[in-house]
């Protein structure tokens, strides 16, 4: 299996392993080989933000970046800005004004994953890019999210939402005539009303009203959300998407990478690559310490790395190794990794 260029590349990883730096280097290497590239990132470390110029007004906006003679666009996700763009594009201004939607779309509020899917879809639709590289938040969170997409889709199920509309109208103007409800819906909605009655004791009536309001507003924007969700088919497709699972020798946990993959087992197709960062092998190779305690340090570091590689190679079809890079400037560091990426692409 070789590393070929697809429309989408997804970087997942356990956090603190250099995932965003590797994704940036990958985006640069794609750009250097002539692709128009957009890098979407969620939570870069400060020095990478500095390097890419993703600060102040640039947050949440597509920002042109020039690095090491290559050009690409970069976008640091801001859920609030994405909501604003959705509201504008799909002409649903209520979406940007609802109190609950606002709270949920705070930077750590909980709608980040679905909004990044919507953002990737909106950016891809512009036709400006050959490749969109998505750097996801650390951990299995994004994968859990993709796995649960089916269930979120049921959120937009017609019957389900009609009940909300019905209840919404009930709360807004009691006694108003409701259209389009069949008998089954009426039966279900009486159950829902009973449920809401119980929940009101727990959450308070205002919350139930507000939440129903938020559901209706989100439903008005369902086209945007459903389009975002439809992206999952592309991500599942071997011809359209490469998956990279990133871990590091420093982290030393094959188990987490393996769990990450099993999390995504319904989702990830054959073209997934394990990226092992911060390898010390080359560094240690030529070192022959005379002192016993240093020899045991060397042995310990080597053993850890070899054990990790062995475990990973048993499970992953391809393991891409990247060396630990020490004491270089951030841009040299990226350049180094970019060259390494190129070495994994077959020369035509």
């Amino acid at each position: 299996m070789t590393l070929s260029t697809k429309s989408f590349e997804i970087f997942c990883g356990t956090g603190g392993v250099g995932k965003t730096t590797l994704a940036t280097a990958r985006a640069l290497s794609l750009s250097q080989s002539g692709n128009r590239v957009l890098l979407i990132t969620i939570d870069p470390a400060k020095r990478l933000k500095d390097l890419l110029g993703l600060q102040g007004d640039a947050v949440g906006e597509v920002t042109p970046v020039e690095l090491e003679g290559a050009k690409l666009d970069a976008l640091l996700m801001s859920p609030e800005k994405t909501i604003g763009r959705m509201a504008k594009k799909y002409q649903t201004p209520d979406l940007a004004n609802n109190r609950i939607v606002q709270i949920l779309s705070k930077p750590y509020g909980g709608m980040n994953e679905i909004l990044s899917m919507v953002e990737v879809q909106m950016q891809f639709e512009t036709g400006l890019y050959d490749v969109v590289v998505l750097d996801t938040p650390p951990g299995a969170h994004f994968l859990d999210f993709l796995e649960s997409l089916g269930k979120i889709k049921s959120f937009f199920d017609q019957n389900f939402v009609e009940i909300f509309s019905y209840l919404g109208q009930k709360t807004a103007s009691a006694g108003k005539k409701v259209f389009g409800l069949n008998l089954i819906n009426r039966v279900i909605s009486s159950g829902v009303r009973k449920l809401l009655g119980y929940l009101q004791n727990v959450t308070g009536a205002e919350f139930i009203d507000d939440f129903i309001g938020a559901v209706q507003i989100i439903y008005q924007s369902r086209d945007a959300f459903l389009k975002g969700l439809s992206l999952q088919d592309k991500l599942k497709s071997r011809t359209e998407c490469n998956w990279f699972l990133v871990t590091s020798v420093e982290q030393g946990k094959a188990q987490e990478a393996i769990e990450l993959r099993s999390h995504a087992s319904h989702f990830i197709h054959q073209d997934h690559f394990l990226v092992l960062n911060k390898c010390l092998e080359l560094e240690l190779q030529g070192w022959e310490p005379a002192e016993p305690h240093l020899a045991s340090l060397k042995g310990s570091l080597e053993d850890k790395e070899q054990m990790l590689k062995k475990q990973l190679q048993e499970v992953f079809p391809v393991v891409l190794e990247f060396p630990e890079i020490i004491s270089l400037s951030p841009s040299e560091h990226i350049q180094h990794l970019t060259e390494k990426w190129k070495s994994y692409v077959p020369q035509s």
Partner: protein, 271 residues
């Protein structure tokens, strides 16, 4: 000497050694005759595969792993005084949509349970192995968000009580765990700043897995790259020493239990 808290939250990026450190800290507390448990939780949405809340004793440490659905059911059961209605509610699509659309909700449920455990046993000290960094912020933020979302009702009152405990410096302390590299350190400082903006409790940074402290006297015998790595660590430690609560050495051992035991002696500062 710092006073003992009731809830210690260990957070930081994946792979910095949170789990080992949390368990070592439980071990430390046990050795000093405190009643302590190691606690973690399973997922953020009801569609995640979960195994039910489990409790087991591993190598002398009580480990509890919380299951979201079970915690939600127990909470509602307590509020409505009915097991049957609670079991029905957590299975309804409305409730599942609510929790799945609002992932921060899960933290509210977990935190509620943790504080409940603390109330039931006033001697218990909970050491929480919290999820990676962004999520720690979500966790702290979720209580504030939901206080704004719910304007009345039992959850509103409970969230208020939860916030009061979670934000009480005498009850809660947060430890951010970092590796001794510049990038990891900067991220830990950013996380601490984010947490400080959201809660008045103490947030301390512990630097784990230091090579420098092991090879301090052998620097010139190391190969170039390792020497640079150790020197970078030295520089980082010198520049930020006053902000580092605890500096822990790299362990040559491969066995988590052995590493835990090695660490125990160095953890008095984490109280």
């Amino acid at each position: 000497m710092e006073s003992l808290r009731r809830l210690y939250i260990f957070t930081g990026k994946g792979g910095v050694g949170k789990t080992t450190l949390s368990k070592a800290f439980v071990r430390y507390l046990l050795e000093h005759d405190h009643e302590a448990i190691y606690l973690t939780f399973q997922g953020q949405s009801l569609s995640d595969v979960q195994t039910g809340t489990t409790e087991k004793t591993v190598n002398g440490i009580r480990e509890i792993s919380l299951d979201l659905e079970e915690c939600a059911r127990t909470y509602i059961e307590k509020r409505l005084n009915s097991k049957m209605i609670a079991s029905w509610i957590v299975k309804t699509p409305f409730f599942r949509a609510l929790i799945n659309m609002v992932p921060g909700f899960s933290y509210l449920i977990y935190l509620g349970r943790i504080l409940e455990m603390g109330k039931a046993n006033p001697r218990l000290i909970v050491v929480l192995d919290a999820p990676a960094s962004g999520h720690a912020l979500t966790m702290v933020e979720s209580t504030t968000n939901f206080k704004q979302i719910f304007e009345s009702g039992a959850i509103f009152e409970d969230t208020g009580k939860m916030l009061a405990l979670l934000n009480n410096p005498e009850y809660t302390k947060i430890h951010v765990v970092s590796l001794p590299s510049l990038m990891s350190w900067q991220e830990a400082v950013e996380l601490r700043t984010g947490l400080h903006e959201r809660t008045p409790v103490d947030v301390d940074i512990t630097v784990n897995n230091c090579l420098f402290t092991l090879v301090e006297n052998d620097l010139e015998k190391l190969p170039q790259g390792l020497r640079d790595k150790a020197l970078n660590e030295k520089q980082l430690i010198q520049d930020n020493l006053s902000e580092m609560r605890c500096i822990l050495p790299h362990s040559l051992s491969h066995d988590p239990l052995a590493i835990e035991t090695e660490l125990v002696g160095s953890l008095a500062k984490l109280i």
